[in-house]
Symmetry: C2
Subunit: 325 residues, 2 copies
């Protein structure tokens, strides 16, 4: 049993040894740029963890784990164009560092590279791994489209919002775990359980992010509190508030969403007051709790695995929970 | 043995029955838009032809054939952004009909869809089909990057130009044939021969296009003659001329490439005069002839196939040659 730290090192070494070296450099060098911006490498490490948990050799999951990370970074490159984001992890986003065409084409070749890495699994696992990856890749695109659709939508139902964040953020975490499970010959039932664990954990993380941005402590969250409110970002809190507000709270919310002339602290406090009246913080906390519970129900259902073997997975989940509290 | 026309009908019916119907429609409807713009469906039909030629059932090649066509249209959607092309087959290009974000994201999901279709081949062929498709998809991106690099390059060697057009246009034709061959259990040697046939035919077609744009008859080519010269488009003719010109012809060429103030007919005639002095037409014709010869050498090398079975392939190649003469 390798520790979480060992698996992280294993992946980071593999990543470093597999930088893009092909020609033309104008195509591949930007891929190295975005991959080097860092990130916590959660998805590939989850893939190694799941592989080990089900009795496989985590080394056998290195190529698809890197494929997942390359895929994730492809989505970041293209999302940053679509969202007009100038920064990614504090550095210029790919289309700002280079240009639009580079970010499109390098993104494209990264998607192909992700498939090449997926195809490095043992032939006996190829069809199952690709079935999971194909579906997931398509769902991530669908999630991004729903997200853009919602930006201009008049009304977004809470259920649709949850579906969108599941597609945009959770299914890739879930697939990372499932692909690790497939590689170590886990049963179909267990592979589904670990997938559902990942999907629910992903949703819980997203709700936690939403809660922290409004209710966290700046020092611990590492950024200014209230950014989502100032940008009118559709979060679980805002979608829930818009869905439940009537009368005076609805008017208040409407006013703050549509006024451009405000003092930041005043807007944040006013919107939080509406949130308080509607108890959306509690609703979000409750939903988050339910996703965590669902996740752990699925993990417990994997009875073939001795508890100690689940430790690296629990460690990574706990580190992500604690990171922001 | 099904005729070329029957195979075309087979593919067109499959294409019509497999339009994108998933949600969200803002993601998938633009994919149907570009697929419906038409085109000659050369690549998917080549895939069916090769499958049948090596003794397989062309129906077994329908899904990957559609995958190739979806991939091709994905490249058109993204290339049109990069090339700032407003029109595609006489209709608005995807980013003009919709918007930039749609063309990026719909293109992305089309690439994923192409892989999903590839994965529908029999499990025993999956690894080989994907190996060919992965490499080809990557090469097409590389070709597009070289093409963009060359736009701003001071000097482009003829060998590099040929390498670029091979990547950008020929390898997908070649891979279409090879994938059809793999599906019908052709030997590795024969699969390579049919690949090389396609690659050389693709190069010959490209040179033919270049020649026709400058030396064709408008009525038969279906567009105004001399467009490449007016746009300073780097064609085999221009690259060859730039590589060989010295003294007065070099000055002349340089003048016409850099002057913005000219009468169209005067520029066309002047550049053609330089081409005549340098015999670039003859050089291009000779190179085209060599690619054709190479192609047919590889086709002849496939001795396991009775001549009549090669007829549909010869028909499609001849129709493409005659189409423009």
């Amino acid at each position: 049993m390798q520790s979480l730290e060992n698996l992280q090192t294993l992946f980071n070494n593999y990543l470093a040894a597999n930088a893009f070296t092909d020609a033309p450099s104008n195509l591949y060098e930007p891929a190295n740029y975005i991959m080097a911006l860092g990130g916590k490498r959660i998805r590939p490490v989850l893939c190694l963890i799941a592989c080990q948990m089900f009795g496989g050799n985590p080394k056998d999951a290195l190529a698809p784990a890197l494929g997942i990370e390359v895929f994730h970074n492809f989505t970041l490159a293209h999302d940053d164009i679509m969202d007009e984001a100038a920064l990614r992890r504090g550095k210029p986003s790919m289309h700002h560092q280079y240009n639009l065409n580079t970010a499109i084409l390098t993104g494209d070749v990264m998607l192909v590279k992700a498939y090449e890495l997926m195809c490095m699994v043992a032939p006996s696992h190829l069809a199952a791994v690709l079935a999971t990856f194909n579906l997931t890749a398509r769902q991530v695109c669908e999630g991004q489209q729903y997200d853009m659709d919602f930006e201009t939508a008049k009304h977004v139902a809470l259920a649709d919002y949850v579906k969108m964040i599941a597609l945009k953020t959770s299914v890739l975490l879930a697939a990372s775990l499932k692909i690790g499970a497939i590689i170590s010959n886990a049963s179909t039932t267990d592979a589904e359980h670990i997938y559902e664990f990942g999907r629910n954990i992903g949703l819980a993380f997203q709700l936690q992010d939403d809660l922290l941005d409004t209710y966290g402590e700046a020092a611990q969250v590492g950024k200014k509190i209230g950014g989502d409110i100032l940008r009118n970002k559709r979060t679980y809190l805002l979608v829930k508030a818009l869905e439940t507000a009537q009368g005076e709270p609805a008017s208040q919310l409407n006013y703050w969403l549509n006024t451009a002339d405000y003092q930041q602290e005043v807007k944040i406090e006013a919107v939080k007051k509406v949130y308080d009246q509607l108890s959306v913080k509690e609703a979000a906390q409750q939903a988050m709790q339910q996703y965590y519970e669902q996740a752990f129900k699925h993990l417990d259902a994997i009875s073939t695995i001795p508890s100690p073997n689940k430790q690296p997975l629990l460690s990574v989940v706990q580190s992500l929970i604690q990171r922001q509290h």
